[in-house]
């Protein structure tokens, strides 16, 4: 029997450790995530600013809440600073693309969250049905967009292979400077789909 080929171990990632955001609203942020969203407060770091001679790094607090599945969500509070214009979250769908979505397990829970948030005076959308999820949308005290979502089905092998075709078509067109409309992408995607059907 031939000796097995020894290949180097690839480094692997093991999920999200934490996400982090700046805040200039300490009390509101803590009350929102700890009391309204019900996330346990698990860690706090406080430090004198150091390094960054040119920028003069501010003294800061770094507050961590448990965001589930072994991860935390953290907020930096930079003492004695005010929020730069560039870090203020604009209105509009493009800025909403930057968000965290929290999972629930039942439709009853999704509706219960909508009602709870509204009871606390948070403006929340009604449920919106998407491809594989149904979600409600709102903002935290920092105007960060938040979603609470109910997965309607698990993703499977077909979603993965279809995503690979989408990415192939889109990247090809982008590299050629031809990704100008979704229709141009859909037409290229169809060619790849037909090839797969032919090969089946």
């Amino acid at each position: 029997m031939p000796a097995p080929k020894i290949t180097p171990l690839k480094p692997r990632l093991h999920g999200v450790d934490h996400t982090a955001h700046p805040t200039w609203k300490l009390k509101e942020t803590i009350e929102f995530y700890r009391d309204i969203m019900g996330l346990p407060l698990v860690h706090a770091i406080t430090a004198k600013g150091w390094g960054r001679e040119k920028e003069q790094h501010a003294d800061f607090l770094h507050i961590f809440f448990d965001s589930g599945n072994g991860s935390n969500i953290a907020f930096f509070y930079y003492i004695g600073t005010s929020q730069p214009e560039a870090l203020k979250i604009p209105k509009g769908y493009m800025a909403m693309a930057n968000h965290t979505a929290w999972a629930v397990e039942t439709m009853d829970d999704l509706i219960a969250w909508k009602e709870r948030l509204r009871a606390f005076g948070v403006t929340v959308s009604d449920e919106i049905r998407h491809e594989t999820i149904e979600s409600i949308y709102f903002r935290d005290p920092n105007f960060y967009p938040i979603e609470i979502t109910l997965p309607l089905r698990k993703l499977d092998r077909l979603d993965e292979t279809d995503a690979a075709l989408t990415v192939k078509a889109a990247v090809e067109l982008e590299a050629a400077g031809k990704l100008d409309t979704i229709e141009s992408m859909w037409k290229r995607k169809a060619e790849l789909v037909q090839q797969r059907m032919n090969a089946a």
Partner: protein
């Protein structure tokens, strides 16, 4: 012959069911995880016939199409034959 490809997933099943129910379409599949809905002339599906909400309707064409778009909006998906060389058989 204009064709619309549909991924074989539950959320887009109404598109395939509608094509079958409305008639006048050739529906092939599922093959390799896709359906192909085609017809001679122009291919036109109305969202109202599918019962799909806008979010699902506008995402339902993700597997692509072969043809030239005439109208793709909240009411209908309407394509005609490719304008250039004749379609491959």
């Amino acid at each position: 012959m204009p064709s619309l490809y549909v991924l074989d997933v539950p959320e887009f099943a109404p598109l395939v069911e509608t094509a079958r129910r409305v008639g006048g379409f050739d529906v092939v599949g599922p093959k390799a995880g896709y359906f192909r809905i085609s017809t001679e002339g122009q291919l036109r599906l109305r969202r109202a016939d599918t019962g799909l909400p806008e979010a699902l309707w506008f995402g339902a064409f993700t597997a692509g199409y072969d043809g030239e778009e005439l109208v793709i909006d909240a009411e209908q998906f309407w394509i005609g034959p490719k304008r250039a060389a004749a379609d491959a058989a």
